[in-house]
Symmetry: C2
Subunit: 307 residues, 2 copies
């Protein structure tokens, strides 16, 4: 297995896959990171062309674990050195990645992926082989997906201890707009409003403000890459939020009542808490993509093959 990009996700993936007994090699963006990974006993260089040729030679799965802005450049190398390879990715949007693959490496056998794991840290040193334990790992179940590569990606997720959530690329993007990208924008706006005026408010800010703004501390370029790469889905989520906030503002100004907003939020949070204990199931090899998508839509997760 060939991993392009050895940051938090790529680096954790290499550790988890090697621990699961796989042969893993990869490439880093800098000599320094390659040396760090090599010192930790991993087969990492900066020669992406060579790594991709090796993948082509043995028909290995190639995992793209670079930020979205770097993807087009890497895909051009894929088209040159491993044009028909088995290909997946670990980027946080799926439609934009599929579009880039179609444009730059159209012959690659691509099935998108998104392991839903992360920490505030980044870089090779922050990686760990347990990062994906019990995490959700979306495997794109679009019509026409190559079932063999779908199997490769699902088995990689399981080998890393994750649970597979099948979803169409556009369904994935709508979901993450609501539960990841909008929360980042809300955190940014909340932080900015808290910092208006003098220092009194920030001095008093604790519990609810600390939690609500935590992800505003994420490196801006990471937030911009994922949010701007999911523009259409994100606009829908922002409009839904603006509609709810506008209705709340109207109620507060007229009757002063906030019960509808607060009770809807409380109920939604209870539903989220219940979803922490998802239905886990196994499926038969070759289950059609449409059937797989239904599993994802009902919030269930796949832990292995039924046989």
């Amino acid at each position: 297995m060939c991993v392009i990009g050895t940051g938090l996700i790529g680096g954790s993936l290499m550790r988890a896959a090697e621990k699961a007994g796989r042969t893993v090699w990869g490439t880093a963006a800098s000599e320094r990171t390659a040396a760090e990974a090599t010192a930790d006993g991993f087969d990492v260089t900066v020669d992406t062309a060579a790594a991709l040729r090796r993948a082509a030679d043995v028909d290995a799965l190639v995992v793209l674990a670079v930020p979205l802005p770097a993807l087009a450049g890497v895909l051009k190398q894929v088209a040159e050195h491993a044009p028909t390879c088995r290909l997946t990715d670990a980027v946080s949007v799926k439609v934009a990645v599929a579009d880039l693959v179609a444009e730059h490496a159209p012959r690659a056998r691509f099935v998108g992926g998104h392991p839903m794991a992360g920490t505030a840290e980044s870089g090779w040193a922050a990686g760990n082989g347990e990062l994906f334990a019990d995490a959700a790992w979306v495997v794109a179940a679009d019509d026409g997906a190559d079932p063999e590569v779908w199997t490769d990606v699902a088995e990689l997720a399981w080998a890393c201890g994750a649970r597979v959530v099948p979803a169409a690329s556009d369904e994935h993007d709508l979901a993450v707009a609501r539960i990841s990208h909008l929360p980042h924008l809300f955190a940014a706006v909340l932080a900015a409003v808290g910092a208006e005026g003098d220092e009194l408010a920030l001095a008093l800010a604790a519990g609810s403000f600390a939690d609500g703004t935590r992800v505003a501390g994420t490196r801006p370029e990471l937030v911009l890459a994922m949010c701007e790469g999911n523009r259409d889905a994100l606009l829908g989520a922002v409009d839904s939020a603006l509609g709810r906030l506008g209705a709340m503002r109207g109620a507060l100004a007229s009757t002063g009542g906030l019960a509808k907003t607060v009770e809807a939020g409380y109920e939604a949070r209870q539903r989220w808490a219940a979803a922490r204990n998802p239905e886990l199931l196994r499926v038969r090899r070759g289950t059609p993509m449409a059937r797989l998508r239904e599993i994802g839509r009902r919030g269930a997760m796949i832990t292995g093959w039924a046989e």
Copy 2:
């Protein structure tokens, strides 16, 4: 010292004050809670009239630690049984409380207070004497405040291990609208948007969504009491947030760029992090209220008397 209300805040206050060597008695809303507190060795009954008469007899400080909706009823009892007592409170809004005191117990020597501590728990059993350690405790520094009662409240805060933040009642309300009430409403809206549609989004929701919606799990009646009790200040905070979200929506739809929003949020979160290490100082007894307010506005906190 007489504490009316033995929930999380009142119960923690009794424990902290008794540990600091003070004579403390209080009243609970139910026989059951009174029995619980008595079993823990505290002087707690349900007879508010008797507790207030005792406070009047020895000119003790009375602390109101009941939710805002229960306050008018308690203040009527204060007016009857301890009309000129030294009085403070631990409610999360200050203008509304001052208005209620002026209406129902106008002769009480009132100085508002707000210990900024709390957990997700509530009730006597959840209380603990360390709750206020290193916490900010706002002591209302309005012009005309009785300096003797101001001293009582500040010394109570210090006895409980807290740091005093002086602020005018209306300045306090504007600050908490931004850093506590708005975060609760944002959490509610974020949770509701996440729960729209099928179960896929909630199944994938983790880190940023879990943090951003945490306080949406607070009991709705508590959130409603504090937010609806701070309507005017909250409207300003909501409008500021709507302005920022609207501008962001426009930028996302036109250029697709979110840098301004994300970078402002990042910078604000850094400022908040820096404010975790506030300037700590001592002041002379009798420092004028206007001077005290300046200390609060620059984010500093008072830990004791200068003498």
